[in-house]
């Protein structure tokens, strides 16, 4: 049984439909990340699940209960916010216990739950401080703690790490993953625009754009077999190289043609046999471009070299297209060098230029 189910959800702000006919099933114990650029509807979706905004149509089920009309507090969820949203004039202990007191949880149980959560999050010695006296990382731990003490099965995270600096973000990211494992079968729904967070944390990622889930799959699939042009372009940094052209089928293997570039597609795994003349876009990630002096298919000219320490990104021109290559940190190339490169067939992505979907 799904832990969270969203059935044909519509959300509108005034007359503008932000989300239209969205369906999503989240399994129990799953860590699902809603990933997308700002304005894609991911936070709207999360707030709809929480019951914090009015939906126009559809149903929301949590733990087998139809909660579409329930108040947020009755939905069996805990939520962590981007700005932490701690109650500023209360101590950490006050922040953790206020909701429980309101729900008339008996005092010994409140104490026990707070003890459990604070030990899990290493905030037990901060109990008598107020939020202003805490660092950003500590505040976010308290905010997570406030969600944990609710003792529910579903936790919602709305960009919880985006207000933190890079080092803390990495640290808390690891901690969140550990937390998810230690809590066992807790479902987590996590909104972010940071693809690294999405790829490292998620069991499954839902990439969103324009209020629609573009692809719902494991991080591995999202990265290596993006379902459409948007997902391919959004996930990955530096981003995937794209070359616009069309497909020609003749006597032999289909060939991708773009001006003077012709690339055979013999070992590409087509979803269905392509028809000749299909306007298509070829995509290949920078780390998958091979330098192959002997049997490289294309000749490129180096334009800009960006050494980044662990790796070097080399930007080249290929018949008027700019192609990025991700090479070893010690790769030594100079502008104006010419290189022979190859595009391994099993690393290629082809998208229909009209529909954007994977061919």
């Amino acid at each position: 049984m799904a832990s969270v189910s969203i059935n044909s959800l519509d959300v509108a702000f005034g007359t503008v439909k932000v989300i239209e006919n969205l369906n999503l099933d989240v399994e129990e114990g799953e860590f699902i990340v809603l990933l997308g650029p700002s304005g894609c509807g991911k936070s709207t979706l999360l707030n709809s699940i929480a019951g914090l905004l009015d939906i126009a149509d559809g149903e929301i089920w949590i733990d087998g209960k139809n909660v579409t009309w329930e108040e947020p507090k009755d939905r069996g969820i805990g939520m962590v916010f981007q700005s932490y949203a701690l109650y500023p004039r209360m101590t950490v202990a006050g922040n953790l216990s206020f909701g429980l007191k309101m729900a008339k949880v008996p005092k010994p149980e409140i104490a026990e739950r707070i003890k459990g959560a604070s030990e899990l999050l290493h905030i037990d010695d901060l109990m008598h401080r107020r939020p202003v006296e805490l660092s950003g990382g500590q505040r976010q731990r308290v905010a997570i703690g406030r969600a944990l003490v609710r003792d529910v099965n579903v936790y919602l995270f709305d960009e919880p790490l985006s207000n933190l600096d890079a080092a803390l973000r990495t640290e808390l990211r690891v901690e969140l993953k550990r937390l998810h494992r230690e809590l066992g079968n807790s479902t987590m729904i996590y909104v972010t625009h940071d693809q690294v967070e999405a790829l490292t944390l998620a069991d499954r990622i839902a990439v969103m754009h324009g209020g629609i889930i573009q692809q719902l799959a494991s991080p591995r699939t999202i990265y290596h077999r993006p379902a459409n042009r948007f997902v391919a372009g959004f996930v990955g940094s530096p981003r995937m190289n794209f070359i616009a052209g069309h497909i020609e089928t003749g006597s032999g293997d289909p060939v991708f043609v773009a001006g003077e570039i012709a690339h055979p597609l013999g070992d590409y795994d087509f979803a269905e046999p392509p028809s000749s003349g299909t306007a298509a876009e070829l995509g290949i990630r920078p780390e998958h471009v091979r330098i192959d002096p002997d049997n490289g298919g294309h000749t490129v000219t180096v334009e800009i070299v960006e050494p980044m320490g662990a790796e070097t990104v080399v930007w080249c021109s290929l018949a008027g297209h700019t192609i990025g290559l991700r090479l070893d940190g010690d790769a030594a190339h100079e502008p104006q060098d010419t290189l022979k490169v190859g595009f391994p067939g099993d690393r290629l992505n082809l998208f229909d230029r009209e529909t954007g979907s994977r061919l």
Binding site: A50, M102, E133
Partner: protein
Amino acid sequence: MIMVSVGVFVFGIIYSVLLSFTNAKLFPKFNFIGLDQYERLWGETRWLVSVENIWIFGVLIIVFQMTLGYLLAVFIDQRIKQEDAFRTIFLYPFSMSLVVTGLVWQWMLDPNLGFSSAMQKLGFESFVFAPLVHQSTAIYGLVMGGVWNGVGVTMAILLAGLRGIDAEIWRATRVDGIPAWRAYLYIALPMIRGALATALILQCTSIVRVYDLVIAMTQGGPGIATQMPAIFVIEHITNRQNVALGMAAASMMLLPIVVLLAIKSAADWHAKSRREQRAA
């Protein structure tokens, strides 16, 4: 010009305070007689009544404006469709002069013309609500007028404060299941301390200055029941021709403002040094 302005305040205050130690009558003469004027001042019934009145008036105004102002702000904050209309209605009295306010409420509370007689005409024969005619209640009539004029400002400032609270705090309270009234009382109220302080300072300055309202509403009467320090000072400068006594009273009026500002700067200094301590 600004130098003139600053000069006026600095020298004017020094001048006034100095005069309060003299026996000047109609014209300023610096013939120092020490604290005699203060001694006289605190022996005058008129002044004692004025001081008592300003305390009663002040405390009541602050209590009513704060509670009513916050209530109005909270109720307007409930996603009311006609929000702008209500806000306009609550605030318009403030745009009018206190003279106008005073006259309006003088009529509203007039036993032969106003609310009281209207209720009697409607059949409530024994209904009497005319605080201004009795010495013991006139001050409460002033409070009614004052609150009517000024509560909209408190409402507007506190509402701005409420609107400044991060929307995620409200979301957190809904997820936590905290009832709205508790959220407003225990979470929002402590968060808008800045707005509360601003409203309080504004109220205090207008309370100390209160003059037009009383002149228009009661002329300080009945008897001397609604005398105020501000009236006392002006009277002694103009009609009573006892400048030095008036200046002694004026210097006393300065005191609460000085104390208030001292408390505020002490609080600022304390906060600053605490911040620095944490930074160190």
